[in-house]
């Protein structure tokens, strides 16, 4: 292990290099209009469907607002498109610009590149849901205003439990950890962002309908498998507060598998050109 040039402070730490790539990727989300446009659009859609969710909630009783927010078809309308949008650039852009060559001729492994990009995209994805945490606070303001305006009227108060938020946030993070990996995998297949986004959207829709197979076919011998994979059922359960460890195993193992596959694909495309 010879040191290339003495007199220069160097590190060989695997994590430091990973952090460098992670920080650069996160920066490219937060220091470009891209990230903010995506954040603004997601927030606008969340607010839009919040209104619809409150309408439903006022008729039915029993569940928290998060349940009504996540368990309707509107939610899937934008949820599916978040992933291709976040991840379509990651590897495809790198390859189109030719900067992948620069990355891979520096002392950096493919695993570090893929993992760095993945973690940055995942963190950005989680920040997309942070505005949900504002809802309790907004409810407080609403309650305070009601009290000020109409005096104490218990039936006019918005009732919420902070616990309503734990389940939804954790399932969104969990399935996101797999879907982001899936998006990065799609991005590594091509040098065109558009094609990456199309493939990713297609896979997302397929995965979504895998979870609804039992609704169409009823119960049959292989049905438990489809229940196990069903993202809609998991979101429904988690947002009612039924936190389960099976999705944890499912999504983390799927994410790790997909990322490992991505590393292989990146190397394969370079080796077989």
């Amino acid at each position: 292990m010879s040191d290339p040039t003495p007199g220069i402070q160097r590190t060989r730490s695997w994590l430091v290099t990973l952090h460098t790539i992670f920080a650069k990727e996160l920066r490219s989300f937060l220091c470009t209009p891209f990230g903010w446009v995506l954040l603004a659009c997601t927030m606008a859609l969340q607010g839009f469907w919040l209104q619809a969710a409150i309408q439903t909630m006022s008729k039915a009783t029993g569940e928290g607002v998060m349940y009504y927010l996540l368990n309707n078809i509107h939610f899937w309308f934008y949820f599916i498109f978040i992933f291709p949008l976040i991840t379509m650039r990651s590897m495809a852009e790198e390859e189109r610009l030719g900067t992948l060559e620069g990355l891979l001729t520096a002392p950096v492994t493919t695993t570090q590149i893929v993992l760095g990009k993945y973690l940055a995209a995942l963190l950005f994805y989680i920040t997309l849901w942070l505005p949900l945490l504002l809802y309790p606070w907004m409810s407080d303001i609403g309650n305070w205003y009601t009290q000020l305006r109409y005096g104490i009227a218990p039936e006019g108060r918005i009732i919420y439990h902070p616990a309503d938020w734990y389940g939804p946030i954790s399932i969104l993070t969990l399935c996101g950890s797999f879907f982001i990996a899936l998006g990065i995998f799609c991005s590594s297949l091509t040098r065109s962002q558009i094609i990456a986004a199309i493939i990713c959207t297609c896979l997302m829709i397929m995965y979504y309908f895998t979870g609804r197979v039992t609704e169409l076919w009823g119960e049959f011998p292989a049905a438990p498998l489809f229940h196990y994979l069903s993202c809609t059922e998991q979101i429904s359960a988690f947002s009612r507060g039924l936190v389960d460890t099976r999705p944890l195993v499912l999504y983390l193992s799927l994410a790790i598998f997909t990322l490992a596959l991505t590393v292989r694909v990146v190397d394969y495309r370079r080796w077989h050109r």
């Binding site: 220069i8 402070q9 430091v16 610009l97 900067t99 060559e101 620069g102 001729t105 370079r270």
Partner: protein
Amino acid sequence: MSMVVAEHLHKSFGRFIAVRDASFSINKGEIVGFLGPNGAGKTTTMKMLTGYLPPTAGTARIAGHDIIRNSLEARRHLGYMPENVPLYEDLRVFEYLQYRAKLKGICGKSVRAQIGRAMERCGLTERYRNLISTLSKGYRQRVGLADALLGEPDLLILDEPTNGLDPNQIRQIRELIRSLATEHTVILSTHILSEVEMICNKVIIIDQGDIKAADTPAKLTHDLRAAGRVSIEYKGELEPVVRELEAFEPVKKVLVEGPLPDGWQRVIVRAEPGTDTREKAAAIISAHGYPLRHIYRHIPTLEDVFVEMTRRD
């Protein structure tokens, strides 16, 4: 000490063979020029040396580290500037260099010091805050070069470093490369032959995937067929002069280019490389009493070498 040793490097893309059995070695402190026509395999060879493209067969060692088995260690010893210099458009110059420096494992106070030094050497100091997307071609080229210099690598691999620059910039880059040779080993590829003649102390000529020659420019031009060629213009009879010239020992052949429109004769004398037949030729012509107005010994250039080695006839 050898900085680069390539052993039977071979690369094929499907049926197309890009580089065929390339073996060469490059010593520390040398500036090596890769020459060859378009599509000859220069870039492929360089990409294999950087570890970006894996060779189909064979291997290479950089500073003693195998580029396949010990790729990360080999990459720590090299700075690479790819052709057309791909850069992140949305970063500023110093941000980009900071990112690259950290990727190369530089940390602490050295990051700033290394960036400062690289920018200074490449004349980027005034542009350090510019967005890369706003830079001109010449400045992008310099950013790529500064990137390659980060961390003072032992080996610099520069793919067409002067491509797309104006003559002044080419001169600056050439000076820079020459100054680098004191501490670094440099491999560069280019189409500009005069450039190679000026700065390189070793030339590797590649054509159609084959290494045709690997030597110093002086040695290559010395052994050339064109080396002993002398052209003569005089006024007088053709036949006796040609006969006497052909009788002279190092002369291999006398080509008659015929009478020029103004009545003067032009002959080309082909002789052994490294000989000078001018004195004898002049003596023969003046012995006949013919007037002589032009006698010129062709000084072979790298261009002649290049043309002779890569000619397709």
